[in-house]
Subunit: 468 residues, 2 copies
């Protein structure tokens, strides 16, 4: 791969997109050089903003000719560094792909990748339809990035993740071919499933230019409750018990005490009284079309919760109260990060194993000298672990923390879980892939990458370990 | 590929499985030489019945050494010829893989591939859990075959298809490696999704030896109604209208008049009075935990149906009546086939396009001189087209019907649908793959096949067109 770009490349890029969509200045390059992953900044050598799949196709052909990296860039809210131009090259900002077309007849939508997730969700709501995936960053992340990372969010336990809504993709392949991966149908048994191979491939196998999404009829009611637990472990245990009682909540979020305390200090205009002895909270939502049914389900949940040591349950009675609780939950990540240098892991296990996972994380912290703040989507066993630098020495941060992370990942895998539930592997987790996969398995993945992208120009250095 | 097997191969196979699991006699070979696809019989040269993944691994290594085809064989209920040993070789019957392990704590199950789908569903029911996919052949098809073909069934419109329940797979790769493709989690963004690449790959990329399935809490109530339409086209139109009214039925099945008439003659002990003017029926089910809610939804559906020309709706009041209606629906395929030589196509389109599809199918029949009987899972746009030979000449059957099928498939693709919704491509549809995919796209699929199986020994001659 070449890092120094030949001058006439810029002329050729300009001929494709027009000069107004080509940027070489440092400010722009640095702007597109970071996402939300720690404090990394890897600026691309040039930023282009193509407007059509055909322009992207021409760019890919050029990049193959010159063997220059191309990194697709979406909302830059990623937490695994998937959009970082770690080898420089062409930063391909997808921001001009913003169309939404809702097909009410088929309960589907054709969405372009730069559409903000929340904008898409609201456009669907307006037509009485529902796009469930709602990553915490929904106000700024894009649908294209959601597909690339197979994003989840708070409603995945009932409604599934991004992959469960993607029916078909228009993709520019690394060689410049433009294909539709599948069909706009709910069922498909026609050839190998390249749609699902593309979802979650973190922009390394193709550039997504259109997404056909399945939609559901909207439901109109929900009940939201915040449950304070005197013991963290019991909050984790309660999660599986609720499902075992036959309830599928629409959200079931876990927050350690520090997570909620730090967030209450970070977020304006929201306050909750919490007893000192409370160690963790569950935020539980049920949703549906029939309020009576929701009351019955809420009662059943309370029946389960009675078996644990909890303080008084807070029910959000108004839309404002609901929004305030969700605002807290969504701000946890940012609040925790604003507190200290940190590393975030996106562990996921079968939900019944959560208490084992939490215990193991705390043990690893004790062993390697770090504090962790845990929160996340407990309903699907997805626990975000924020490892806090605090007053740890730089030396220990560099040498001890990776050992602790490795032990935590080894634990997730031994519990039949894996490294990432919804953030992806990207740049920052690739060196741990050997924990989840055998060498032969990783070689198969590498073979797929090589098949799609023989010159290794599309988002190189992501997902797969370097030493493979 | 070798078709004549060296004698010492049998000795080596015998050393792996033991002689009691090795069969060379013609009767056994012919028994494993057919599935439910038309009247094909392609016997394997030898039938083996391995008992462990390790035995399969040893068999694959042997087959690679001798370049001998291996065809995994499940319940042999397939409709696209996926389990036919078209090049002879080793017929690998999975029938000894019959364990079910239900994990009530995580709402999951580990199922071995030879478990009959209905047996698995009932085992889940007994624990208060629900495995929704229910192909019409559920009484004899196997879970492994369901995964290989990405089977659907009548409940897919609400609950999704097989792929939506597969969390993780233990697979013996063509080179003999045994891997787990993913993790036992509801969310996973860790590397390329080999789980979903394996689902629907029709036994050409690996041999599935264990399946981790997601389960749901069981629901206890449903309402089932049979709706006679005086116009077939209106029955198709009503399908999308029901969804547009905000209802997601748990089943929405379409049957042309011939389909139901032939089935009533074929099935014992069931009778329904149908007016001569009725052209088609919809069988509609809603399900859930709350009978009151189901009555509300049934009322809403009746509100939609009022807009169409229908005869009196038949409500199934008892379990016996429900079973009788489902018995009819499930027997349609067999009944139609018992009537004449036939070819079955598994067309699928976005559901609003169903009336266009049905009209196009009838036009093609008129143009090429064949009669068709259509029925299927209208709720997800999946229409089974049985092309009936009747008194057509052998010559026309051979030359004209394929032209008609090609036109029908071209129509499905132009309507944003595709060739197969749930039966797979297998042996009988592979020559139509160029309609759904560009050559570059098919070359990618072939590249994947080559990557997994460089000697092309695992189920060769399936899915991809011969001339690729």
């Amino acid at each position: 791969m070449q890092n120094i770009l030949p001058l006439h490349l810029f002329e050729e890029l300009e001929a494709i997109t027009g000069s107004q969509y080509l940027f070489l200045d440092e400010e722009t390059r640095r702007h597109y050089g970071h996402d939300e992953t720690e404090d990394y900044n890897f600026p691309p050598s040039v930023v282009v903003k193509p407007g059509t799949p055909e322009e992207i196709s021409a760019i890919m052909k050029l990049a193959n000719e010159y063997k220059i990296p191309v990194v697709p860039i979406g909302g830059r809210t990623g937490l695994s560094g998937g959009a970082l131009s770690i080898h420089g090259g062409i930063g391909l900002s997808m921001e001009r792909f913003t169309k939404i077309e809702i097909d009410e007849n088929n309960l589907q939508a054709i969405v372009e990748p730069a559409v903000i997730t929340q904008v898409f969700r609201e456009a669907a709501f307006e037509k009485g339809l529902f796009y469930p995936p709602d990553p915490s960053s929904q106000g700024s992340c894009t649908i294209g990035g959601n597909v690339a990372e197979n994003a989840g969010g708070a409603r995945a336990l009932k409604y599934g993740v991004t992959k469960d809504y993607v029916l078909n993709l228009q993709v520019v392949l690394p060689n410049g071919d433009i294909i539709w991966t599948g069909a706009n149908t709910l069922k498909n048994s026609t050839g190998y499933n390249l749609t699902q191979l593309m979802v979650g491939s973190e922009g390394t196998l193709g550039i997504i230019t259109k997404i056909v999404m399945k939609l559901l009829p909207k439901n109109n009611h929900n009940i939201l409750m915040l449950v304070p637990f005197f013991k963290s472990a019991q909050a984790c245990e309660a999660v599986a018990e609720i499902f075992r009682a036959g309830i599928v909540p629409s959200a079931l979020e876990f927050m350690e005490r520090d997570a909620i305390d730090w967030t209450l200090r970070f977020v304006d205009g929201v306050s909750i009284d919490i007893k000192d002895e409370v160690e963790a909270h569950l935020l539980i939502e049920v949703d549906g079309n029939y309020p009576d049914v929701l009351f019955v389900e809420a009662e059943k949940i309370m029946g389960v919760l009675e078996r644990f040591e909890i303080d008084e349950i807070l029910f959000a009675d108004t839309e404002d109260q609901k929004n305030a609780l969700w605002k807290i939950r969504r701000a946890v990540g940012e609040a925790v990060k604003s507190n200290s240098v940190y590393k975030e892991e996106d562990t996921v296990v079968p939900r019944y194993e959560l208490p084992r996972l939490l215990e193991g994380i705390k043990d690893a912290g004790w062993k390697y000298g770090f504090k962790s703040v845990c929160y996340g989507h407990a309903g699907d066993g997805n626990l975000h672990v924020n490892i806090i630098k605090g007053d740890m020495t730089d030396e220990n941060w560099k040498t001890e923390v990776p050992k602790g992370i490795r032990e935590i990942f080894e634990l997730t895998v031994s519990l039949k879980g894996t490294l990432s539930g919804e953030h992806g592997i990207g740049y920052v987790q690739k060196s741990y892939m050997d924990i989840a996969f055998t060498n032969g398995h990783l070689q198969l993945m590498k073979g797929i990458k090589r098949l799609f992208d023989p010159n290794n120009i599309l988002n190189p250095g992501k997902v797969l370990p370097d030493n493979l």
